[in-house]
Symmetry: C2
Subunit: 80 residues, 2 copies
């Protein structure tokens, strides 16, 4: 079973990496970029289990290791 | 207009960061994780334009700056 995890910085927090990427895009001539927010995308391959169980397990992994819940939000999608 | 970019390491390439995360999950007691692949997720806020034009523009940004096309694949989604 495959799980996809999307981790984003909470809104309102300064994204220094995103600001740097935005400046780089500006200086490469890409116009019209208002904001860039950098996040993480993680793919997990899991041994069989029910989708609902797998989703809860991956959410626990996010809370404990994959994300920093103080400054980051995470979203988990499970597909068969 | 919002664009979402998903950047993943090409299949077959060794993902050292993913292997480290997998080991950490194992040692935290999470069983049944077969593989972990780390990627990047980028949100862009763009000034108006047609969705099709915006998608092409963001794909150019990926090819030139956001991704390393030699070792990474990228996928762009545009939403209004």
């Amino acid at each position: 079973m495959k799980a996809k995890v999307y981790i984003t910085l909470k809104p309102g927090l300064l994204d220094a990496q995103g600001k740097t990427v935005k400046s780089a895009l500006d200086s490469l001539g890409f116009k019209g970029v208002r904001e860039v927010r950098m996040g993480k995308y993680i793919e997990l391959d899991l041994n069989g289990a029910k989708a609902a169980t797998a989703k809860k397990e991956v959410e626990r992994m996010c809370a404990k290791l994959l994300a920093n819940p103080i400054i980051e939000n995470y979203h988990v999608e499970v597909e068969r």
